[in-house]
């Protein structure tokens, strides 16, 4: 007995020793300041903003040699963010230019931010999609106060200020991936992302390469493919882009829709009904399998297409290009570049994605503003997103960048630290320019669809607060639709599909869709007026 205890003790001691020695050995993890102390007990205190005696005086002009960059804690609320830390030649260059070095933490779980907020332990900067949560005077400092104070020369586009303003009249971020209509028009090479449909080129040619000008033509192609290749599924739907492509063809929008000046919730649009009925017809004609609606992972569906199980695939406008690149040349894909119906239209209501929020606990607002100012500037975010001008990229005379490195190779991106640290500050146009490629399938479709896009971010600004009765109604309706729409898609006949759709409308009525619309309309008038006044 004693012997056994001794061996167990020995085993434990060995494990403990190896554990502490491994924990103590500090590999340079990119963050300078990794302590080599023993891995147990008292944690090394967070190195907050070090030397506060910063010469933060010089604004735009390159600061005098920055010896002690200000460290700011930056939390990125996106679990999938490909960059884990602030390392690489590009981030270093940014630090040199701003004398700020962010200490990055990427979220591993969606609840982390909420926990931070509720407990009051906020970092200096928060990068998050959660506009409603962070645009709150209790949590963040408003841009319209800190910028005039520390960087009065910065002037944001008034439309951008507008779409980020909340009910207390302040704006707490200028979110990324947004550009004004004027910006889009001024950059003919920037094409907004739209849903896309890609087809296998070889099979298309097998069935005679017919012109596809309407949904009817598309159906005919699917039928021909089905006959020639019965083992193949004519159409595979990307789980995240199931109906979007067809919605666009019918002119159906999501969220709130402006119909003759008044807002209705998308379910009430006739175009949505038509689009769903079309999905149903796809199923009834055997162009789409029912199992497709159970898939959740788009890499799975992509693989199916790449291994030859499907003829057509729904995704974004970079569909064909992506498939061609990922498939390594086994098959070639082409986009259906032109809209397939005169009704086709897309209304862009987006107001932006990621925002960089300066929290109330921020230790060094001046440095933060300096940092943000640089990243918002053309020079700054281009450095972050594209790299060094000249060595990494050059601006083509037509107005788009040409890269000297492969922007699709994640390894290169990681090593240089380029692209993802520019993303939080990229404009919609900027993001589109990054992916421009002359003659590519993406561009071919982008050019065609530019013609059917119109802008109305005023709608995008209408968003109920968390826990408000309107938000509850909206969530209930959306959840219900997600559950019930499959009944429409898989109905055995058009009549029954219609009936299922009516059922959905009835349920939505019971849930209070009218109240939701009324609430939205009460806000729409003011927003639309203000937006129009800024853009005329």
């Amino acid at each position: 007995m004693a012997k056994r205890t001794r061996t167990t003790m020995l085993l434990m001691a060995v494990l403990l020793l190896s554990g502490s020695s491994l924990a103590a050995c500090s590999k340079s993890g990119g963050n300078g300041g990794q302590s080599a102390a023993s891995g147990s007990a008292a944690a090394t205190a967070e190195t907050g903003a070090t030397a506060s005696g910063q010469s933060g005086a010089s604004g735009a002009a390159s600061p005098a040699a920055c010896t002690n960059p200000v460290e700011l804690n930056m939390f990125v609320d996106a679990t999938w963010y490909p960059f884990q830390d602030w390392s690489g030649e590009i981030p270093e260059a940014i630090t040199k230019a701003t004398c700020v070095k962010p200490k990055v933490t990427i979220a591993t779980d969606d609840k982390q931010l909420a926990l931070m907020v509720a407990s009051g332990d906020l970092p200096d900067l928060v990068v998050s999609f959660n506009f409603k949560l962070m645009s709150d005077g209790k949590l963040s400092l408003p841009y319209n106060e800190i910028f005039p104070k520390y960087a009065p020369e910065v002037k944001f586009d008034p439309v951008k200020e507008f779409v980020n303003t909340v009910s207390d009249g302040n704006y707490y971020a200028i979110r990324n991936d947004f550009s004004t209509e004027a910006e889009w028009k001024a950059n003919p090479y920037a094409h907004m992302m739209v849903p896309g449909l890609a087809l296998r080129k070889d099979i298309l040619e097998e069935v005679g390469n017919p012109a596809i000008k309407s949904l009817g033509d598309l159906d005919a192609v699917f039928a021909a493919v089905k006959k020639k290749h019965p083992e193949m599924t004519p159409l595979i739907l990307n789980p995240n882009w199931q109906r979007n492509y067809f919605d666009a063809q019918y002119g159906a929008q999501g969220g709130f829709v402006d119909e003759n000046g008044k807002l209705i919730y998308y379910l009430k649009q006739d175009a949505v009904r038509q689009s769903m009925l079309y999905m149903n017809s796809l199923y009834r004609n055997g162009f789409v399998t029912s199992e497709n609606f159970a898939y959740k992972n788009e890499s799975d569906t992509e693989q199916m297409v790449l291994s030859g199980k499907g003829f057509a695939y729904t995704w974004t406008y970079s569909n064909a290009d992506r498939l061609n690149a990922d498939g390594k040349g086994k098959y070639t894909f082409v986009n259906v570049a032109e809209p397939l119906s005169p009704q086709a239209k897309i209304v862009s209501t987006g107001t932006g994605g990621l925002g960089v929020y300066v929290t109330k606990d921020n230790k060094n607002v001046e440095a933060s503003v300096r940092f943000l100012k640089y990243m918002f500037s053309e020079e700054g975010w281009r450095l972050g997103e594209w790299g060094f001008e000249g060595t990494d990229w050059t601006m083509n005379s037509a107005g788009y960048p040409e890269f000297k490195y492969d922007p699709q190779d994640l390894e290169t991106l990681k090593k240089k630290g380029v692209y993802w640290w520019g993303v939080p500050w990229e404009s919609g146009v900027g993001m589109a320019l990054s992916s421009y490629k002359a003659g590519s399938e993406t561009t071919r479709q982008g050019e065609q669809y530019d013609k059917i896009i119109s802008f109305n971010p005023a709608i995008g600004m209408i968003n109920p607060d968390n826990d408000s009765p309107e938000q509850i109604i909206r969530t209930n309706i959306d959840t219900m639709v997600k559950t019930e729409q499959t009944k429409v898609y898989l109905a055995p006949s058009e009549a029954e599909a219609n009936k299922a759709y009516d059922e959905m409308l009835k349920k939505a009525d019971k849930m209070g869709i009218d109240k939701l619309e009324a609430w939205a309309n009460s806000q729409y008038g003011t927003y639309k007026e203000k937006y129009d006044s800024l853009t005329k």
Partner: protein, 295 residues
Amino acid sequence: MALRRKKTFEDWSLDTFIFIALLLIVAVTLYPFYYILLITFNAGTDTTNGGMYFWPRDFTLANYNYFLSEPKWIRALGMSLLRTVVGTALGVLFTSLVAYGLAKKELIFRNGYFMIILFAMNFSGGLIAYYVVLRSIGLINTFGVYVIPGMLNLFFLLIAISFFRDIPEELAESARIDGASELRIFARIMLPVSMPLLATMCLFIGSGHWNAWLDSAYFVQNEGLRTLTYRMMQVINQTMVPSGDAASSSMSRTHVTPFSIQATAMVVSIIPILGVYPFLQKHFVSGMMLGSVKG
């Protein structure tokens, strides 16, 4: 000593039945596991095509490379080891100590304690309140947050109590008569007798610590304190970049899919457990050996 006995028909049929049943169980359990192993050695993108069952179709070490290319792993591994050892030791000792006390019928407020235990098992004040409590004790962002809250494992507390209750009183009685203190009785008699229970607790609590990552996510900001499983979650999360972003296409270039990476993470984390398990297994297999017929 060994009873010599002919194998009866009953013996035979029972043995055969059990044998077949066990064989089925092994097949059903082992094959999917083998399949998982296959996946880790197969290119993720190829696996999605299905149809691969016995041998990797597109052999690759890319899945493992994807993990091991992270330099911070060594430290995280060390942290996990440390945490598991300390946490398990504390947990098992503390819980069994408390259980022993609660097993005694003479304990005052015994029913009260039980009420508290049951209440705590079922109710929780929620994540936010928990965080606040941890913060006020000063455990946030320290190593302690890994091992201290888990010291009393309520589930095992209840199981251990019932175990201790089953131990015949005479064992303790005779020792008491000989003048041994309660602590001595506990250490010298109770613990050794309950080896199977302790071994089980070590296994369950230990694997719990080894696999835990949520507390590393929620309650720790110091990068040096991160555990291995936390790092794994980070890697897994990064495979799920939402599409529509130009650079996300670079993911599929690597032939790695979220599924193949998750499978790899799982295999990597199970290896230590497999390593430790044989040491614990003898504790609950040994008892049975004595009870069966020597053939």
